[in-house]
């Protein structure tokens, strides 16, 4: 079963095409790394998955449902961390975590305390005084605390320090162990390499490569140095032709 299945997805903003036929499949219980250069259409794809934007053409299945029509039911079963987290200036981080948890309907006091501790967040500070990294932490804690099947994370660790990056990777691995699916859009290829089992590469609104980590390993080994980073840097530069990707 796939947690997410997209076929031929097209999205236009006025005359410009943001997505020109995206096809991807996210197996249940996997960590899916969604990567691509700036403006490739990652956030747009995610927003369509969340029913925030309306698709123009194509098929989108999210947890077996239609994300636009069944948004309320589906949102109960997922948690989302946007790439640019904005919070309520006059609320504290703790209040936001409680509020979002209650709105989603699934969270427990114990898990809340555990993740606040792990991410080392001061929940008594007003959101307007939080740094970017701390705002990101509030959203991440709120997502990890919830008892959901699917986590959709759009560049979730921008602004996190290396220590917190480690905690974050630990948390998504635990989520997978608990049977959750993670859809992770990221620019940090080392992070993707470390945690993901599946990878999709989007460029210019199209998926140009999709596969599991095992398949990619062989290609990575041919690189100099042998990292995913080198493979994709090479690739982003070379443009449309699938050189080096086999």
């Amino acid at each position: 079963m796939s947690a997410i299945e997209i076929r031929g997805l097209i999205k236009r903003f006025g005359k410009t095409f943001a997505l020109e036929g995206v096809d991807l499949k996210v197996p249940e219980g996997s960590i899916y790394g969604f990567i691509g250069p700036n403006g490739a259409g990652k956030s747009t794809t995610i927003r369509i998955l969340l029913g925030l934007l309306k698709k123009d053409e194509g098929e989108v299945h999210l947890l077996g449902g239609d994300p636009w029509r069944e948004n309320v039911e589906l949102h109960r079963r997922l948690a989302y961390v946007p790439s640019d987290v904005q919070l309520w200036d006059n609320m504290t981080g703790g209040e936001v975590i409680d509020f979002l948890g209650r709105l989603r309907g699934s969270y427990s006091k114990e898990r809340r305390a555990e993740f606040i501790e792990r991410f080392d967040l001061d929940p008594t500070k007003k959101c307007k005084t939080y740094s970017k990294g701390n705002r990101q932490k509030v959203a991440l804690i709120s997502a990890f605390v919830s008892d959901v099947e699917l986590l959709i994370l759009d560049e979730p660790s921008t602004g996190l320090d290396p220590l917190m990056e480690g905690v974050f990777q630990q948390c998504i691995k635990e989520a997978r162990k608990a049977g959750k699916t993670v859809f992770l859009s990221s620019h940090i290829l080392s992070q993707v390499e470390a945690v993901c089992d599946q990878i999709g590469v989007i460029r210019g609104g199209k998926i140009i490569k999709e596969g599991n980590m095992e398949e990619l390993r062989a290609l990575i080994l041919q690189q100099e140095p042998p990292t995913l980073e080198a493979l994709f840097l090479n690739y982003y530069k070379k443009g449309q032709r699938e050189e080096g990707l086999g």
Binding site: L52, L53, K54, N71, Q86, T92, R102, R104
Partner: protein
């Protein structure tokens, strides 16, 4: 010095390149307004006699409450008298918006941090904001002076007039500069500045109505253009007061800025609660958190102001009854006691439209900034909209009802006339549906054109007010005027159809319903 003021000049240049349309209006509006008034006065009163006869008889207590006594019966005296309050309000509002934008708002948006980091001195942004504000006001005053001189008004008097509103605008801007240091949020700083302007304006009206001299008037910027006596034996020495005040306020704002951290207020932020109250669990509770500030401010301000107005009304009633020229108008408004107050209440009620659009604007910003977080929760889109509609519709009704009650109460206390309470209360209450239409329009725009909602809403509001004025001067036909929701409640019509409230309510409901449908179908505006 370098540590504090380095790069002030380049910041001034940077600020001037931003918001050019805004600056252009600010520069031109005073001159254009004075010119329009001068030309129309020259046309209306071709001779000195016609001015004495018609012009002076046109002065009714309402105008006098607004503008104070006419010092000099001549075209020049008439024009300066008619334009000064508006010029101060205009210059003051532009200066306040400008000051907050370049100080607290910039800090809030993180621009201050960027600028403060290494390129500019720590006080440079504030200093540049103040300097630009003074420069733009001065340029606007010079343009107004040129316009007046070109139209043949005397130079000395024109100079006094322009210096008067220039001084007032600058000092109001400087008050905002100080407020920007005290409050952590731009909204609060702007609110405090406009609140202060509102209080000064209220005092201005009160002093004009009660007549007589008042020493405190020397400290109210709105009085300066009168006290400097343009065309009536100019008193330039008055400018010492604004100069001193201006210097003190500038120094105070710089001193406060130097004492605090970037982004902080003077009162340090206290730690808040680590846990949310049990009640904070749905969108209604969240809407209360985001809407309560503006709502309570408007509610309290209107309660107090309305009570004062009702209380002072007997003064005005006696003033109105002695003015013969007003007989016709008073007749239309339904008799002496009703007349003045009706008109005042009507204007007071129309101003609540600003609250309506502001509260809709909060909904718009909530979607733009937190839409991704909120709309990815298991909530229906329409519940987000409805949670704010409580304030756009219900909050508005509450402000109007409270205002009506307080005017009535004030009138009862002031005049001892027990019947005033219910009469004034219902007068205010029957305006509610018209304001709901404004809210309906804002919601329809929220659904259809979210990014343009606030701009178009204010544009339409101004259009409706203009239509009112044009209709009164019989320059637009009745049918066109009927398109404005205000035409259904204006006290300038002797009778309104009994169905007016129903028609307006249905219109508001349809508009809001259209907004809901469009919002459900569109891309989130994120």
């Amino acid at each position: 010095m370098k540590r504090y003021f380095h790069a002030t000049l380049s910041l001034m240049g940077l600020y001037l390149r931003q918001n050019r349309i805004f600056t252009l209006f600010w520069l031109l509006a005073p001159g254009v307004w004075v010119a329009i008034n001068t030309v129309s006065s020259l046309v209306l009163f071709p001779t000195q006699e016609s001015l004495v006869e018609m012009g002076v008889s046109l002065i009714d207590p309402l105008t006098e409450a607004m503008h104070g006594p006419l010092l000099e019966v001549s075209i020049a005296g008439f024009v300066t008298w008619r334009t000064k309050v508006f010029l101060v309000l205009l210059g003051g509002i532009f200066s306040i918006i400008h000051m907050i934008r370049h100080t607290r708002l910039a800090e809030e948006q993180g621009k201050g941090e960027l600028l403060g980091a290494n390129v500019a001195g720590s006080l440079a942004p504030l200093a540049a904001g103040v300097a630009n504000m003074a420069l733009i006001n001065a340029a606007a005053a010079i343009l107004a002076l040129l316009a007046m001189a070109a139209l043949g008004l005397g130079l000395m008097g024109s100079l006094a007039h322009c210096l008067g509103f220039l001084a007032a605008s600058c000092v109001l801007g400087l008050l905002a500069a100080v407020a920007a240091q005290l409050f952590v949020s731009a909204t609060a700083a702007r609110g405090a500045s406009f609140g202060m302007l509102g209080v000064l304006f209220g005092l201005h009206i009160l002093w004009n109505v009660s007549g007589g001299e008042n020493r405190l008037a020397y400290f109210n910027p709105l009085e300066w253009p009168l006290l400097i006596r343009p065309f009536a034996g100019e008193r330039f020495s008055l400018l010492l007061i604004p100069l001193t005040l201006g210097a003190v306020l500038t120094a105070l704002s710089l001193w406060l800025m130097a004492r605090r951290d970037l982004g902080a207020g003077l009162v340090p932020q206290r730690a808040g609660p680590a846990f949310a109250k049990p009640g904070l669990r749905n969108l209604q509770a969240l809407a209360w958190r985001t809407q309560k500030g503006p709502f309570l401010s408007w509610f309290c301000f209107y309660a107090i102001f309305s009570f004062a107005l009702g209380y002072a009304s007997y003064l005005m009633v006696s003033a109105v009854s002695s003015a013969e020229a007003l007989a016709g108008l008073i007749e239309r408004l339904g008799g002496i006691e009703g007349a003045f107050l009706s008109l005042m209440l009507y204007v007071l009620g129309l101003l609540i439209s600003v609250y309506v659009i502001m509260s809709a604007g909060i909904l718009g910003r909530e979607e733009a900034a937190k839409g991704e977080t909120l709309l990815s929760m298991p909530v229906r889109r329409e519940s987000l909209l409805l949670s704010h509609t409580v304030y756009i519709f219900g909050g508005t009704a509450a402000v109007l009802l409270m205002s009506g009650f307080c005017v009535g109460l004030g009138a009862v206390v002031g005049t001892g006339d027990g019947s005033a309470l219910s009469r004034l209360f219902f007068e205010m209450a029957k305006m509610i549906p018209a304001l709901w239409v404004i809210g309906g329009i804002a919601l329809l725009l929220f659904g259809g054109l979210p990014r343009w909602m606030t701009g178009i809403s204010y544009g339409l509001l101004i259009l409706f007010v203009l239509m009112e004025i044009l209709w009164e001067q019989q320059q637009i036909p009745e049918v066109l005027y009927a398109l404005s929701p205000f035409s259904w409640i204006t006290p300038l019509k002797a009778v309104q159809p009994a169905a007016a409230p129903l028609v307006l309510s249905i219109a508001a409901l349809l508009l809001a319903g259209g907004g809901v449908i469009l919002f459900r179908q569109r891309d989130a505006a994120i």
